[in-house]
């Protein structure tokens, strides 16, 4: 199994720990990752709103790079997967947009043909063959209550993101992260507002405090269910919960802080990697006490 690894901007630059964890987990599970000179996706929360044609053209360039190498594109971020899946769909279906974009890209020797698929690390890990491989590994149970946050752009609009998996009412409720984490002994816990926004785009584009106010609403419901850890598949959502709790705690101390993890960090821990190897040491909300209490993530687990 081989993919072009689309890292995006936030992960390799702000949270390289996610990249390290993902590369190690994929290696263990036999997923080959190929690096290509991709640029910014660009985000559905910035370039798409400001200049649609530029958004589509840069997305097309990234898609072309993967096409030229005959590889499906694996993304690690809800924003990247949203842009690249939607652009891929538009350019495959809409002849006039494809011609227009190809005219722009031809000078740089790119030509969008529509030969590849775009996927997300969560969907790749959820495939039967990978789950079977995972279950053959010696997994360490992580018995804590976890609240999954998928990130809006990972699955909305469902007609674009999961057209093959829609319910009769044409909706899509994501479950893959909950299922995967239950395989490694975690206890996925439902909470109110699970599928609503983390507040990141509002904070990044306009008003940081208003963005964190949205985050706080989610955190209140997460606390209600005694959730001990938050799991995400997007670096922007991660920052909103991790940095957000620090910022919010400067104003009010009523909510104890809950550590946030990127999905592959948790899977890496279960595969015996140490907390430092998967990059947990640089998170703002520390997970050390929680992991020590269940004897997970220590150095001694690492190489057996």
């Amino acid at each position: 199994m081989k993919y072009a690894l689309y890292l995006g901007c936030a992960i390799p630059i702000k949270y390289p720990g996610f990249e390290a964890a993902t590369r190690m987990v994929c290696k263990r599970l036999g997923i080959d990752l190929i690096d290509l000179p991709f640029g910014c996706c660009p985000p559905p929360t910035s370039m798409k709103l400001v200049h649609y044609d530029s958004w589509l053209a840069l997305a097309a360039r990234n898609l072309c790079l993967a096409e030229e190498n005959g590889l499906d594109l694996l993304t690690l971020c809800s924003g990247c997967v949203n842009t690249l899946k939607e652009a891929n769909q538009i350019l495959k279906k809409n002849d006039s947009k494809r011609r227009k974009i190809n005219k722009i890209l031809e000078e740089h020797n790119h030509n969008f043909k529509g030969t590849i698929q775009v996927t997300h690390i969560l969907d790749v890990l959820y495939q039967d063959s990978i789950v079977e491989k995972l279950l053959r590994e010696k997994l360490i149970d992580i018995p804590i209550r976890v609240g999954c946050h998928y990130g809006c752009h990972y699955f909305r609009p469902p007609q674009v993101m999961y057209p093959e998996e829609l319910s009769p009412a044409e909706s899509y409720v994501p479950v893959k992260m909950d299922h995967l984490l239950s395989l490694i002994g975690m206890e996925p816990t439902e909470y109110s507002r699970k599928f609503l926004c983390c507040g990141s785009p509002l904070g990044a584009n306009m008003d940081q405090d208003a963005g964190y106010a949205i985050t706080r609403q989610k955190l209140i419901h997460i606390h209600e269910r005694n959730i001990q850890a938050i799991s995400v598949v997007c670096p922007s959502c991660f920052e909103q919960f991790d940095m957000g709790q620090i910022a919010l705690s400067r104003k009010t101390k009523d909510l104890p802080k809950i550590p946030t993890f990127y999905l592959t960090q948790l899977i890496g821990l279960s595969l015996g990697m140490s907390a430092k190897e998967v990059g947990l040491d640089v998170h703002r909300v520390k997970s050390k006490k929680l992991l020590e209490s269940i004897n997970v993530g220590g150095q001694n687990n690492s190489k057996d």
Binding site: C40, H51, D53, N205
Partner: protein, 154 residues
């Protein structure tokens, strides 16, 4: 400078499908914490005042693009497309939040939407090599051709 035709992005007739039930605004996360400018209100203003007036208002940028409004609309109005179109139009008239404008400029100049600072050390801390360079000139040339200059100088 070129303007954009909003109705190329969003079917104008769809505005009339809205019966103002406010399910969209009721589920909008931004509306709960920021001064009101909900999806329902936006559609109503497009109908009553015209979109030319709507794109003047900086509050259209409060939307998080979470798509919940569209997901829950009983009339299946492509609200997200409308909100994308309105903001594209607003940006061309200079209505763009300062933070967002800076982010777009950074993207156009560097090909990435994050500032790279002491990156090699940070990546080495996680056992990763330096990030390979990206062809910034190619990206800039593409953005010149798509006329990003209509919105942001770079």
């Amino acid at each position: 400078m070129t303007t954009i035709k909003i109705w190329n992005f969003f079917p104008r007739e769809a505005l009339y499908e809205c019966y103002q039930c406010a399910r969209c605004t009721g589920s909008c996360p931004a509306m709960e914490v920021a001064p009101a400018y909900g999806p329902r209100e936006t559609i109503l203003k497009c109908l009553n005042l015209g979109h030319e007036a709507v794109v003047q208002d900086e509050k259209i940028w409060l939307c998080c693009t979470c798509n919940v409004c569209e997901d829950r609309c009983p009339q299946k109005i492509p609200i997200s497309d409308l909100l994308v179109a309105l903001r594209n139009s607003a940006a061309r008239r200079g209505n763009i939040p300062g933070k967002l404008g800076m982010a777009i400029e950074l993207l156009a100049k560097t090909g990435r939407s994050m500032i790279v600072h002491q990156l090699d050390e940070m990546r080495a801390h996680h056992g990763l090599g330096p990030l390979p360079p990206i062809p910034v000139d190619e990206i800039k040339q593409i953005l010149k051709k798509t006329k990003l200059n209509d919105v942001i100088d770079f």
